[in-house]
Structures are given as structure tokens and as C-alpha cells.
Subunit: 365 residues, 2 copies
């Protein structure tokens, strides 16, 4: 259904351009400006999104003609992919474009993939579709397990995957979690997002997701588009989302990206941000509660300290005293703490820690 | 069963040290030297392995006492993990060691994880076990689909996963593919290893593995220990292994690592190398056969050219004229070719290309 909608939008874009040509007008299309100045933090909703500024691309314009042509070429290719009912990666699109613009045109228009990425974003914003709806696969990464089933109908048959029967491996989160896929029989009570795959494996071995009846998910580092989107979809089903990362610059970045979205994806902010997410740790204040952690801290890097300083300047952080305390403590002590450190005395303590944090509602906003 | 064997070997190591102390001897253990000079290419078998050189570690030795103590500490921790029947990552082991050597000892012995990695390898070699048998999880990466089932009994119940029912996602290859896991009902006829996940997704959408009855596997870049080991195990079941990568330095490195193993893992060479593997492409000679590819080459990087020059010096390469021709052509033309380029005219051509290469046996050794 969504694919059909994308097809119609692409066709409308083409029809508009043709009409303008026939009417003797300068063909154009309008897209939201994706410049830094047009990225706003929506205080009410709690995520990064684009502001009201628009940009017009004109065909008869020395500076814009090439980009205009390239964007229309991308639209034509995506239209073809949708008609063929086939997916490819951005790299695949790049080679399709490099090969030719069509039967009559025989020239390479893109020499570097870096040229095509921003144009795809232009198109996504201009016609208000996500690249996944244009049959473009993004990088995928991330795994989950829990009491939930996935129904994938993309291959012409109905494949049902039970995320409680995935053994040591878990279910891999795909690039597209919206089209021809459904998440059903969700009996889990909350979503636990753990930064590192190694910690996911540790908790999975302890059957944490089974005992606690949660969906145990790891983005395996920074969350991809697909993983962020899936977390958003699970939050839409009223599951609380808890995030568990290292107490360092990278861990915080992973948390904030899941929670508020990111500058790069501000143009689809509401689809990939989960402002309801809460941060359960590890935190600097854990050092007071769990004394053994004091011998397991490691030296903060310059990046960590610089990032902590930057975060202290954010309006949003300033409002939340708990985060200010965390950041100042890291800066003062020049130390950081990894989630792996919880395994120091006892491998299974990681799960105990999480259970206590959640049951006592000891989390940061 | 294998875990039991590792437990006994660790206990024997401990008993030997205790005996030596009781007899007033200098406690020691012997491990194979993992220096470059002791890494040999086994011409008969076709993989990298360690030579005969041994290294002795002594406790009463100013230069070796610290390392000796650390290795014994690692052995003790792994023994504990095996007794507890719990797994962790090397990072988890690092924190366990950092926390303490035992109840009576309260000092941090490892300040950096870089110190513990080579010691784990020492232990693996000294008692001839793999880290997976010591309940240490390595990084995992890689996905497959095909007519095969996986039986995972590690969680105390029997979980059966059907690799032909994994929809768009595939089955994630775990760190350990040897213990409490089995691969059954293998009806596929060969294994196709494709470098990039994007190409795997393309072929999976085309149901390539179903139509051709193969196991479609991607290491998602360089193959991990687990993925290399699984490819070896599938080759042991007499399935031919074909590798499909870019025609560039990174692609070749991925191929050679799967085929002959690597310097880093020479100490477990025969377990992770698949000398039977064949290279199906993409190749420089594809430019003659598939004319459209000539407009889809990209500029070779300095790294690619340098690597190609190095490969030309290898004895093994010199013997294989096909590889010499490939490498010289790349160096002369200063171009490389990506597997994604096959999608230029037609997204589904990738599968046609592979089918033709395999049916006509057009592959490199």
C-alpha cells in the first residue's frame, strides 16, 4: 500500500515537471531546506526536525540544472524499481545511474556516490516518502530477541519468525521494518536497548528477556535507520523503552540519537525518534551505589571530555539536573565507565543491575 | 563434550604448575611461537599455520613473571566460566581480571585490554583449545540463508531454526558454531559467499539460494572467526565454496583470508581455512566479456595498487597465471571493479552472472 503511494507521488512529480515544460515555465521542485539553520529541536515533542524553510530547485539555472537533472534521474530509477518490485542499495542505484539515464542517453552522470546521497534525501523530503518506500535498502545492523513474532510477506509467501526461538543468535533487524512486514503477538512488557552486542549475548544467555518478559535489542553500536524506526514502532505499541549504554561520549550519542533523532535524519525525525526513551545506565552515580565499580573505571578520552563539555551547553540538558551532575562528575574525575564493567565480580550481575534500575525507576530522562 | 575437554586441559595446566612448585622447580609452560618467522604457508594443504618453533614461559624470570602470572589468571577465570557454564566476551574477561585475581588479591593486573588478547592466544595455543571452547565469545558478523537447519541446544532446550524461513533477514552467524550447535538437513549443493550485505540482500530478494539450491552467505566484509569456521565446516560436508567479492585489495584480502586463513589466526589455521574455496569474481577479465562493465569501473586507490604489487611477489600467486593476469591488468589500468557494478543495467543481473560463472566453471583458484 505504501509502495503504491510512493509510485503515485513519483508520477505526480514527473507530471508536474512535464506540465511546466509544456506551459513554457521553468521546471522546478520544492524541498525542505536541510541546512543546519533549518534543523530545530521540537521542545514540545522532544525530537529534532526540519523547520519551515524551503528550497526551490530550478532546471533553468546554471547552478541548479545539473542537480535538478540528477534528482529527476533518481526519481525515474526509483519509479522503475517500484514497478519491477525489486530493491537495491544506494550503491546499486549509483551504478544504475552511472550506467545510463535511459535508452537514448549514454553518459555517466555520477562519478562519486557522495553526489547521489544528498539528492536521494532531496527526493525523500520533496515528495515526503522514506527511501525504504522507494525500494532503496539502507545499511542494516542490530539484533533482538523476545516474546514477539515477525511476519514477513515480501517474498510472496508468508514467513513467520518467532523472536523467542532464535537461540544464541537473535533476529536480525532489517533495513525496512515498515513494508510487507508486521510485528505481531507482542507479549513483552518493555524494550531494553543495550549498546553492545557482547552485552546482548551475555543477557541472552541468562535468558533475561524471557525471565523479565522484555524485548532485548542491541543496535550493535550506533542505531541504523531500520533499528531506530523499529524502536519507534515498538514505542507506538505503548512499550516503555529503556536504553543501556556506556557512560561515555559514544554511549550518550547512541542514547540521544535513539531518543531525539539526529541532525542527519531530522527530515524524518518523527519516524525515527523515541522521546519516551529513558536512560538506565551506566551512570557516574553508579560509583556511589556499587562500590566495586570504582576500581573498574577507565580514563576518559579527550573526545569524551569535549563532548561532555558540549552537552552541558544544551538547553535541554541544563534543564535536567541529573544529567548536569553526571557530566560534571565525568569532567572532574576524567573517568568513564563501561557497561561491561558490571561483569567484573560476577558475569550475571548485568541483569541484576538492570532489574533493580527498572524496578526502582532509577533512570535518567 | 568439547567443553569438558577444555576444563580438563585447564586443570592439567594448573596441576603441572603446582607439581613444579612442590618439586622446587621453576614453574613454566610451553606455547608455540606466534612470531612472523614461525608462520608458514603449508603448500600441501594450502593454508597458513604455525611452524615447529616453541616458546617457554617461566615464572622465575624477570622478563616473564608478569606475563606468566597473567596467563595463569586468565586460565583460572576461563576455568570458572566453564564451571559456571556462562560465556562472556574478551572485554568481560578483562573486567573480571581487572576486578581481582581472587578473594585474597586486590590489585588491578591489566590496565589495557591490549595486554590480555595475546595472553589468551598464548593459552589457546599452549593447551590446544579455541577461545570459543573457553566460553569466550568473539565478535560476530555474517548472515546466511538456504536449505539447511540449525539446532541450538545451548539454552537447555532444543531450538531449531530453518534457514529457508528467514525472510528478508537471514540467519545471523554466531561467534561459536561448534559447541551445543548443529547444522542439519543440509540440502543445498554449494556455498556462495558474497562480500557485501547489500548484494546478499539483492540475491536473497531474487530467491537466488532457493532457485539455485545453495547456501547464500555474506561475511558482511571481512569474515569473523565464527564465519570462517562455519565455511570450513560446510566445506567438510563436501559442499563446494565459491567466493564473490569486489576486484580490489579489500575483496582479495577477504577471499584469501577465507581460503588460506590469516597471519593472526595461523595458530588455528586448519580450523578456519578453506583451501578448496574458488574465486568467481568480479574479475578484470570480466571487462572483456561484459562490455557494459567498462563504463562502470572506478579509480583504483593507492592501497589497491600497492596490494596488487605485493600479491605479485607471492610464490603461490606466481604459480597461478590467471591471478598474475588479473593483478597486472589492474595495475596497468589503475582501475577497480565492484560487485555492485553488475547491477548497472539490470538489478537481477548479479544472479545471472553468478550462475554462468559457476555452470561454466569460470573461476580462479
Amino acid at each position: 500500500m505504501q509502495e503504491k503511494a510512493a509510485l503515485k507521488k513519483l508520477e505526480q512529480l514527473g507530471k508536474d515537471v512535464v506540465s511546466e515544460i509544456e506551459e513554457g515555465k521553468n521546471p522546478r521542485f520544492v524541498t525542505a531546506a536541510r541546512t543546519r539553520s533549518n534543523i530545530v529541536f521540537d521542545k514540545k515533542e522532544g525530537y529534532l526536525r526540519l523547520g519551515a524553510a524551503k528550497e526551490e530547485r530550478n532546471f533553468i539555472n546554471v547552478a541548479q540544472a545539473k542537480k535538478f537533472m540528477q534528482t529527476i534521474a533518481i526519481a525515474a530509477k526509483c519509479h522503475k524499481f517500484l514497478e519491477e518490485d525489486l530493491h537495491t542499495s544506494i550503491r546499486g542505484l549509483f551504478y544504475q545511474l552511472k550506467f545510463s539515464l535511459g535508452e537514448d542517453v549514454d553518459e555517466s552522470i555520477f562519478s562519486e556516490q557522495a553526489e547521489s546521497n544528498p539528492l536521494i534525501e532531496d527526493l525523500e523530503v520533496a515528495i515526503n516518502v522514506k527511501r525504504e518506500e522507494l525500494n532503496l535498502n539502507a545499511t542494516r545492523r542490530g539484533v533482538l530477541a523476545g516474546n514477539m513474532k515477525v511476519v514477513d510477506t515480501s517474498g510472496g509467501e508468508r514467513i513467520e519468525m518467532d523472536c523467542s526461538k532464535t537461540g544464541r543468535t537473535g533476529w536480525s533487524i532489517p533495513s525496512d521494518v515498515d513494508n510487507e512486514i508486521d510485528f505481531v503477538d507482542i507479549r513483552a512488557k518493555y524494550v531494553l536497548v543495550v549498546e553492545k552486542d557482547a552485552i546482548w549475548q551475555r543477557l541472552n544467555e541468562d535468558k533475561f528477556w524471557k525471565k523479565e518478559n522484555c524485548i532485548l535489542l542491541t543496535p550493535q553500536g550506533q542505531a541504523t535507520r531500520g533499528t531506530r524506526r523499529l524502536i519507534r514502532k515498538l514505542a507506538d505499541k505503548k512499550l516503555p523503552v529503556f536504553v543501556f549504554t556506556d557512560s561515555d561520549a559514544w554511549g550518550w550519542y547512541i542514547y540521544w540519537t535513539i531518543k531525539t533523532g539526529s541532525i542527519n535524519l531530522a527530515y524524518i525525525g518523527n519516524d525515527v525518534a523515541t522521546p519516551e526513551a529513558r536512560f538506565i545506565g551506566v551512570t557516574m552515580s553508579d560509583l556511589d551505589k556499587y562500590k566495586f565499580l570504582n576500581k573498574l573505571t577507565i580514563k576518559a578520552s579527550e573526545v569524551d571530555l569535549k563532548r561532555a563539555q558540549e552537552m552541558l551547553q544544551y538547553e535541554w540538558i541544563k534543564k535536567h539536573k541529573e544529567w548536569v551532575v553526571e557530566l560534571e562528575r565525568m569532567i572532574k574525575g576524567k573517568i568513564k565507565l563501561e557497561q561491561d564493567a558490571l561483569q567484573g565480580p560476577n558475569l550475571t550481575f548485568v541483569g541484576d543491575y538492570i532489574k533493580e534500575k527498572i524496578s526502582k525507576e532509577q533512570y535518567l530522562p
